[in-house]
Amino acid sequence: MSDEARILLADDHALVRRGVRLILDASPGLRVVAEASDGAEAVALTRASDIDLVIMDVAMPRMTGLQAAREITSHDAHPYILMLSMFDNEQYFFEALKAGASGYVLKSVVDHDLVTACRAAVRGESFLYPGVESALVRSYLERIARGEAIPTSVLTAREDEVVKLIAEGHSSKEIARALVISVKTVERHRANVLEKLGMRDRTELTRYAIRAGLVEP
């Protein structure tokens, strides 16, 4: 991989593609090298050219983003995939993970999350949007409450507090205010927690979601 991540953009709306492209091209280290207007075209382009990251809309004509993702990841040495979607159901997110995607970006926060998600994806990490993160942590707490044995490293008292606040859907800023610590510290706790719960990497996350009944096996 060169210094710049080569990106394929697939969305059936030319204006959305243009908007995303302008933002990515303005970000150092990211460059859009190809565009597709449906899933089938995206699959064909991925095979034909050297792509590091595919950004796809979930809903596209001819072949949906999810189908295209399955198709792309069925080959060895496939690029990373990031799904763009308007829907915040975690079922879509887990389905995207199952299809091999690294992350899922909600369109209503695309301006804010897109670049971060791209960077996480090309580093090989998964990108969790805030809603899904609290859903995951909540289901984790419920499983503990039900007395299921979950093998994880023990959380510190502080991390435990952070977990409960994440589960309630609070943002980092709100958690920082509640615990009287800096946002940076909250972010660090958050990262540690996800790491300890085995929610950092895609395979772990998918496995967790299936076990917790958040998605069909």
Binding site: L15, I23, M86, Q91, Y92, K107, D111, A135
Partner: protein, 348 residues
């Protein structure tokens, strides 16, 4: 009631036996002839009896009618009229009882029918009435199915357009304002932030509306995932605790049937959380070789049929439209159990 039974017995003894022949052959098809003939024969028999009495008895009528003769004649006439009336009543009573039953009949309850036994004429009328009911029910189910399908299609179309047109345009607005903000335009930064925030809020709103209109998860990810999703959604957004147990081994169902199962689950969950003030709801989806069954049991205060009658009717109509059967019974633990059973045979 006792009098009627008694009279019917007389009518049967006197009338039915001689008329047995009308019940075989092609005359059986027509209802008018046996009833008409019955009436003629009753009248004829009564007149014949009167005349026989006149002929056999020594009674005569003088040219100048004496008061005694007049009294005898009046009594005779009264006897004839009363006998005739009683016999006719015996024949016609089953019909009037049938008419009363028809008047009281509850057309709204599907599957309810008039009994087709007893008096031949009444049974035959009841049979036709029942046949009309069956046809009406069938047509109503078809009409409902068409209306529901039209409604769902319209919802889907609106959702699609909102998603594809409005949603995408707002995404473009978001992306463009970000670009503009990145250029650090100090003098209009506040305005741009406002544009960005309202575009974001609108996009969230569009997403919320689209989600309510069209069960996207159902269409794209299948029934089991969609049911799991609404169970989870209710679990999170309402005070009820929703547990679910969904079989993954489902027979192939039509898209319409999946939609009906999904909408019934949605309605039952809404009822449980809104009207029944339940604490825990159990949602189960089971399949056997013959059928698929969705059951939703709550531990609420039981379902009051007023207030949410509309929702229950909607569930019934949806069930009927795909050949399913909806049962709403008190649950074992005090609450309500809603169960929808759809035969697999109806899926071909």
């Amino acid at each position: 009631m006792g009098a009627i039974t008694h009279l019917q017995l007389i009518a049967d003894v006197f009338m039915d036996r001689p008329f047995a022949m009308y019940d075989c052959g092609d005359v059986k098809q027509s209802m008018n002839l046996p009833l008409y003939s019955k009436v003629c024969l009753i009248n004829g028999a009564v007149f014949a009896l009167g005349i026989t009495v006149l002929v056999v008895s020594p009674a005569t009528v003088s040219q100048q009618v004496t008061p005694r003769e007049l009294a005898v004649l009046t009594c005779g006439l009264a006897l004839i009229v009363v006998t005739n009336a009683l016999l006719l009543h015996g024949v016609l009573a089953p019909l009037s009882r049938l008419i009363q039953r028809m008047d009281r009949f509850n057309i709204g309850a599907p599957g309810e029918r008039l009994p087709e036994r007893g008096d031949r004429v009444a049974a035959s009328v009841a049979k036709s009435f029942n046949a009309v009911l069956t046809r009406l029910e069938l047509e109503r189910a078809e009409g409902n199915a068409r209306a529901l399908a039209a409604q769902e299609n319209e919802r889907r179309r609106i959702a699609q357009e909102l998603h594809d047109e409005v949603g995408q345009s707002l995404t473009v607005v978001l992306l463009s304002t970000k670009r503009a903000l990145d250029m650090r335009p100090d003098d209009i930064e506040n305005e741009l932030t406002l544009v960005r925030d309202s575009a974001r809020a609108s996009l969230d709103e569009v997403r919320r509306i689209v989600r309510g209109l069209r069960p996207g998860v159902l269409e794209e990810l299948g029934l089991v995932t969609a049911l799991g999703a609404i169970a989870q959604e209710f679990d999170m957004k309402s005070p009820v605790n929703v547990r679910h147990q969904l079989t993954a081994r489902l027979p192939t169902l039509t898209a319409n049937t999946e939609l009906v199962i999904f909408r019934v689950a949605q309605e039952a969950l809404t009822n449980a959380s809104r009207h029944a003030t339940a604490k825990t709801v159990d949602m189960r989806l089971l399949a056997d070789p013959e059928s698929v069954t969705l059951s939703i049991t709550d531990d609420g205060r039981g379902m009051s049929t007023e207030g949410n009658g509309e929702g229950i009717r909607g569930m019934r109509e949806r069930a009927l439209a795909v050949g399913g059967e909806l049962r709403i019974v008190p649950g074992t633990g005090g609450g309500t159990e809603v169960s929808l059973r759809i035969p697999v045979a109806s899926q071909q």
